[in-house]
Point group: C2
Amino acid sequence: PAVEQMLLKDPKSYVISADVVANVTATNTLEHAFMVLSKVGYSRIPVLTPDDRLQGMISLAAISEYLLHVPGAAVEQLSRYTVADAMLPVNRWVSDPTKLETILNYLVDEPFIPLVDDDKVFQGIITRRELLKRINFMAHN
Amino acid sequence: PAVEQMLLKDPKSYVISADVVANVTATNTLEHAFMVLSKVGYSRIPVLTPDDRLQGMISLAAISEYLLHVPGAAVEQLSRYTVADAMLPVNRWVSDPTKLETILNYLVDEPFIPLVDDDKVFQGIITRRELLKRINFMAHN
Ligand SMILES: Nc1ncnc2c1ncn2[C@@H]1O[C@@H]2COP(=O)(O)O[C@H]3[C@@H](O)[C@H](n4cnc5c(N)ncnc54)O[C@@H]3COP(=O)(O)O[C@H]2[C@H]1O
Ligand SMILES: Nc1ncnc2c1ncn2[C@@H]1O[C@@H]2COP(=O)(O)O[C@H]3[C@@H](O)[C@H](n4cnc5c(N)ncnc54)O[C@@H]3COP(=O)(O)O[C@H]2[C@H]1O
């Protein structure tokens, strides 16, 4: 379709590649994850296995739930828990970055969509911002 | 332009109206704001004055900064601070919901854009999700 045609002029460039995507592992403590999230400023990031497969997501909101429900819990106490305790499942992912119709569909409900290869090795993410930049450009040309 | 034409078929329906937008006031405590954010599940919400004018934004990330940098700070200690202490400025807003070119432009950098009337009274928000839903629909028709 016309929208996909125009958006596809340069498929790879809207993928944020894995090497610049902040991430943690399931065995990291929640204190470590909390500090990573605060430092990079993202609200939710991928959880990867030691061999770079996508395992889940960790969010500031999920960690905040611990602080809210564990009485007197300060950030230091988060060292008693791991990312595995608060990890969220990956609802959607794609393995073909050119399937824009699917990606656009998924981005209606998810702020970013992980990209994995056929072996489930994490390749990067496609964000709403990258797609909107592209649509914005298209709307002006 | 064609994109704006198609998106404008039903301008009002992509605005999330003020009565369903979670918000706090600048004098609320950070503990209260933290609990509101956790309960509604949003990462950032508007701060309104008692007469419903848009004053700023409050985010989970900004409150987490307090928990991180005030040693031993537990959620209860957030009652010592107010939203005013951690409030963020409003970078972008619109007063005409049909100015889609401007809105699309702003949504590249902001997950939502507040809508205010000519007296700066808060009217609602326009989110990336609502715009993407519309673009998604358009791409299929
Ligand atoms: N450090 C920063 N510099 C500039 N703008 C920033 C920023 N942090 C956040 N934003 C803005 O806020 C939006 C929401 O960020 P959030 O962290 O909630 O949600 C993000 C985050 O969960 C994830 N994400 C984006 N880039 C990432 C990265 N390099 N590493 C890990 N996760 C990333 O994808 C979601 C959507 O990102 P998107 O760019 O569409 O949308 C971003 C972007 O427009
Ligand atoms: N309770 C829920 N139910 C269903 N989906 C949910 C949800 N909470 C979050 N999401 C999904 O996560 C996205 C990012 O939410 P976030 O709270 O970071 O960022 C939100 C939040 O800061 C604000 N927002 C959205 N609706 C709001 C509301 N009713 N009241 C206050 N703020 C709202 O606008 C931003 C962008 O919202 P958008 O809908 O584009 O994008 C939302 C939506 O796709």
